[in-house]
Point group: C2
Chain length 437, copies 2
């Protein structure tokens, strides 16, 4: 963990290095991922089975790739009523927020008599990647599938690795609740390849979304263009902006909630209160003594964690904008000025009663968010990932007379004569009709 | 050119092959592009100058990379008043449409007392790539820069190759009119690399947009993640759906307006009227005799063009959905049923007085559109490319009591104990406060 102080002369250098240290470069898995994708493209289901044998240590035939309705039902039956209720509360809230997010289409007629607008339509099909292994997350299923379902996507295919053949009942229950239409026991780059290119068993989809490890991220990068993808997920991060009026243990747990995800995760506290900084540092150390995932959390905190002291909350907001964090908590008496000053953040959690974990599960907004400073230019998963715009324009004869000549001039200037003629021939016809009238 | 008839038994096979034939694979330029990007990242301005010498046959020093205000002013002064007026009409209409496109932020408080919403904010900086060489398009400058400007992006950098050092006055005039803040005489993959990674002269941007050749497209693919990119542009295409009540020459010119862009462009007429099909085929042949860009247009039309006869307009719309064309013209008596049935198209041009060239210049909607069937999952350039969403949530104490326990259950089920504790510690504090009250 690094202690930075904005009043110190070396602050700028230290802060820059803090931002740069996690710059991930997936170049090292470029080649193996390309091989896996090529193998899936050429070998289809057989390649999927082979990779699944190798990476997930389980025998599977093409006919067995799809998880059956009976398996899903049996899995759901094994989940406690309490957990199913929690899942339902989460799903209901996520649905409600994403429904509010749906945009309106646009259509108007302007002064030139041209009718123009844009229409939103859903994708036909999407593929959801859900990480498996030790951390198969039912919440990820809800967060990926519900926006697609709300957007109106008819086919929602899901791939989830099941190492050693072990199904995760809560993941399957989440998929059923969220409206997933088909589930395959395939993971890694091979799953991304299958959804992008299609196999005999898994029909190709139009867009692949969902978080994953470096192989999955690189695979998404490589299939981009053939299908759409969401932002490439990197390691998670949180910035907590807190004043002195807080329970240090709550802040420590929020920092560790990020840290326990991944040794590459990054948790940063920014505070104008040096005393609170010291108390939180102590509280983190205390919690690490008992936390089940302490090993991961400690590695993350020791390597990438930071506590930054600033003079005031304006400085805090300015640092936030440079970090462009995935998650931002504002645990301060007057959050609004900071909230208004922040331009770049994936999601903001306002107040002392809104830890980031609320957003991971039951808040309503999506927890799939831009990581590693990409909140500078991208957004969390949403209904916008599952719809697209068609613009349209309808010109009447008189409108064409008004705006057509400028198009002819510009087309001629660009040396595109067929473009110019396609307008000119219609203008000439209108002139003839006019003269004849 | 291929003639397809939906009533023939081999139609399905022919149609599938028509869709597949242009599947572009940029794998062949993977390696050279990676080399260029690495060189720019390592060598900065010097690498840019070296590549510019090699590819654009011009000597340039780092200090000369930026096109000066004087050069821009001199260029604008050389453009005719008529062209400047045409440019202004186009810019005004593009501005107006993109302003209408700007979405509203969202904020509401739900039944649980949780305030939640999302806020749209502009990117800080974007880089626009503008193709150069024989076809330096001022209209592309307007279409790329105006949405960024309308979205509120403060820094709009533009790169345009100037082969042999020749500036295109109309491109510079368009950049000035559109609100571009800085212009560099750099092209190709090296320009994309400079904008993504930054050099001493060109500060890095947050997102790179704009069409380009295979090198530019591959470079965008490779820098994706470091910066955002727009959809990777492939060769252009148009589908014209026309009934018998049309001037065959107008349709022929619309088909050739696509074809004259690029030998890889694809123009398809779909009509229920076999007689119109024959007339258009004849009209295309006639126009090709005199069209200045006949060589390109003929290659495109001969290789990728198609005339498809169908039984009715419903069939036409269904084929359109499979093609998911960049541009769609509906030149039929009753366009609405077809318009309503089409789910996948970049932009639709409705009626007999609305050739696609209107949309290229003065319509208002963007002409940077999803090509090569990507309209299945992506959209044209818009203000949405230059803004991003931050979601937010604020829970009061009582809200946390209502939704917090479900978050604890789910976090525990996922084995993320710090997540669970971060909520539980606040719930416990509330309980203590409640008991104390």
């Amino acid at each position: 963990m690094k202690r930075l102080d904005i009043t110190q002369p070396d602050f700028r250098a230290q802060f820059t290095s803090l931002l740069a240290e996690r710059d991930s470069d997936t170049a090292s898995v470029d080649a193996p991922v390309a091989e896996i994708l090529a193998a899936v493209r050429a070998g289809g289901d057989e390649a999927l089975c082979e990779f699944t044998r190798r990476f997930d240590r389980m025998d599977v035939t093409p006919a067995g790739l799809r998880i059956t309705a009976d398996e899903i039902e049996a899995a759901c039956a094994s989940v406690s009523a309490e957990l199913l209720a929690a899942l339902d509360l989460a799903a209901t809230r996520i649905e409600s927020f994403h429904r509010a997010q749906m945009p309106e289409s646009l259509c108007y007629t302007d002064a030139a008599g041209v009718t123009l607008g844009m229409r939103w339509t859903a994708l036909d099909s999407v593929g959801l990647y859900v990480p498996g292994g030790k951390a198969a997350y039912p919440s990820s299923v809800l967060m990926n599938a519900i926006p697609a379902h709300v957007a109106g996507v008819r086919r929602i295919a899901m791939c989830v690795p099941t190492p050693d053949g072990v199904l995760n009942p809560l993941v399957l229950a989440a998929a059923r609740r969220a409206g997933v239409t088909e589930i395959y026991r395939v993971g890694g780059a091979q799953a991304v390849g299958a959804m992008a290119y299609g196999t005999a068993t898994i029909a190709p989809v139009d867009r692949v979304v969902g978080p994953g490890n470096a192989y999955v991220a690189e695979a998404k990068r490589q299939v981009f263009g053939t299908v759409g993808i969401d932002s490439i997920a990197g390691p998670s991060e949180v910035v907590v902006v807190a004043d002195g009026n807080n329970d240090p243990r709550a802040i420590a747990l929020d920092l560790l909630a990020q840290a326990e995800h991944d040794p590459m995760a990054q948790s940063i506290l920014i505070t104008p209160d040096a005393e609170m900084a010291a108390k939180v540092e102590q509280a983190v150390a205390t919690e690490l003594k008992t936390l089940p995932r302490a090993e991961i959390a400690r590695t993350s905190w020791d390597t990438h964690g930071a506590i930054i002291t600033v003079r005031n909350l304006d400085e805090a907001a300015d640092l936030v904008n440079e970090i462009a964090p995935e998650h931002l908590e504002l645990m301060v008496d007057a959050p609004t000025p900071v909230f208004d000053r922040v331009r770049h953040a994936g999601a903001i959690f306002v107040g002392r009663y809104c830890p980031e974990a609320i957003g991971d599960y039951v808040g309503g907004p999506n927890h799939v968010l831009p990581t590693s400073r990409t909140a500078r230019f991208s957004s969390g998963l949403s209904v916008f990932d599952f719809i697209k715009r068609t613009t349209f324009i309808e010109a009447q004869a008189e409108s064409l007379r008004e705006i057509g000549p400028a198009a002819v001039s510009l087309a001629e200037a660009e040396g595109l004569d067929a473009h110019a003629l396609s307008v000119a021939v219609r203008l000439a016809a209108l002139d003839r009709a006019h003269d004849g009238a």
